[in-house]
Symmetry: C4
Subunit: 191 residues, 4 copies
């Protein structure tokens, strides 16, 4: 079974998720610059989530580029990942509209955590489908980022019980971790 439609469908869903988040930026009823001020937390929350969805798309793109075969398990593992990503618009809006209060921040982190776990499951399903000598298996290696991220999200969720900004700092750091270019896949492919 080819991977073309899996990529196309995932691109479609991720493109819609990243775009409908902006619908939560509700147009103010008046036209003063001051009327934009209450939107600042919603915009900040949107920027963070836009970054996260962008990271997932980039990583998905990278991961699939090394793969030749997909299985039924891969299709379901991919849908499972898309499910958790589809909850980003909800948690993004809830966190932004409530000015980064503790509970919405913790729930935001919970969805980040579930998406990270779903990504790891998809990675395993792809390696299993790809068979012996999988380029992805070698490329992933010890995968410290993939394993560190869920731990960071857990830490972020726990920290919101103390101070919600501490949780947000952790989420931002976890995102920046992924912005550092990952040379593993290119390296293994080029060897």
């Amino acid at each position: 079974m080819g991977k073309g439609r899996l990529e196309a469908f995932s691109d479609g869903v991720i493109a819609i998720i990243i775009t409908i988040m902006v619908l939560e930026l509700k147009v103010p009823g008046e036209h003063s610059l001051a009327s934009l001020a209450p939107l600042a937390p919603v915009l900040l929350s949107y920027v963070l989530s836009f970054g996260y969805v962008g990271i997932y798309w980039n990583n998905h793109h990278h991961m699939l580029s090394t793969i030749h075969k997909v299985s039924g398990a891969v299709l379901w593992a991919n849908l499972h990942l898309l499910f958790w990503l589809s909850l980003f618009p909800f948690t993004t809006a809830w966190m932004g509209e409530n000015h980064f209060a503790a509970v919405p921040t913790a729930v935001y982190g919970l969805v980040l955590l579930m998406a990270a776990l779903a990504y790891l499951i998809l990675q395993q399903a792809l390696i299993a489908a790809d068979g012996q000598g999988s380029v992805l298996r070698r490329a992933v290696g010890s995968d410290w980022k993939g394993k560190l991220s869920p731990a960071l999200y857990l830490a972020g969720i726990a920290l919101t019980l103390w101070r919600s900004w501490a949780g947000q700092v952790i989420y931002v750091l976890a995102a920046l971790l992924w912005l550092i270019p990952d040379r593993r896949i290119e390296k293994v492919v080029h060897d």
Copy 2:
């Protein structure tokens, strides 16, 4: 006529359907954990429909993978299927927001039934377009799942007159039926 754009268009519509359903998860006005409780039925309803739309995408993907030619009848049969799928966001939200009351549950089942029939019609149109020796014809075989599903949805709709949870149980069972991997198409292709 190639099948590429048929797949691309269907992927686009299905990706949008699966994603706009999440817009019915309305962001609560306050930030307590308790304010999420009323969303539980809407979320459950969303999970069920996400699963169903995912099943349709998977099956559509599988079915089209065996096909080389599409006809005008196939294009219309495909649009007919997409029409019924496009009503999922409406019935999902109505059922969820009304806490799985009997009438919305029955209407939800009716749309499931119509989509299942539309899928069978598309299958026939594809077999007809594919001509003699169609791989799909052999792969589909007696197609007990395709024929059992509409009967299950009918039973589910009828049971909502007695107890609405009984209808929901049937819908969930019918979905699980499709999660069991279907080896027919791979088997015939690999023979």
Copy 3:
């Protein structure tokens, strides 16, 4: 310049247009079967527009399948068509929510008319870009459907001044005209 991205972008926009129309089917506040009754005109209006957008997608698909080159003029003519199609969700909802009153019905017809003219302009731009011996030029021939449709929409708009149902009958007939399979393109291609 390849036609691949033109097709992909058009498929995306048309897929979104056909799907967001369903958002106008507002979920009723209660769960009786009677609460669905007021939605009947909105649903009917949606069915008509779903058919029209499906027809445009089918015809677009057909027309592009004969083409090898696209020009800058084609890109703009295509965007112009997509602009008029993007107004369908608005006119569909306005006509449906107002129970097919005269003014919204006339405006609905006006957008149909503009889309039909935009389609003819795109056809001309494609023929011009395709050069001498264009398959599309021969396939289109006298193009009685493409020329009859705008006349029908004009007649429909005029008839709404008398009775709005008369306009709707014309719009339905004009849609049915396109459902009759068009063998011209296949015929010329196969000669």
Copy 4:
């Protein structure tokens, strides 16, 4: 790394942006022709933004057509461009609903400016990824349009402090500048 998914994802996001803008055309509560009048500024604002998003899609399409390789920096520069484009529905609606008042017009110009700068950054990232002898580098040349546009948007923003219509005139002129066909890329490719 191939450019196929980058194009597909960008097409998806741009297609959604161009289409959800139309959701701001709120369906009037009544069915008189007069009830459409208050929508005129929203529609005008939509037409301008539809044109701009169409221009970005066309230019993106052109620019990518000359490119063979994409890098990690290109993926992020592309997401950065999509971020600013994703704010168009917000600024379009705000400007339209407030009848082109000064502040929303200036903010609209600010988002135009940021998108134009993001486009220039993407262009540089593509040239850097494409290596020596990049067709794009030669095609872009002195790129007077790309450099003039941000200056025009800045001028437009400044002029809104005097008269908001003056800013809008500048935005329209800057759009028309791009409608004039750009032969640079075709010319270099054909040399």
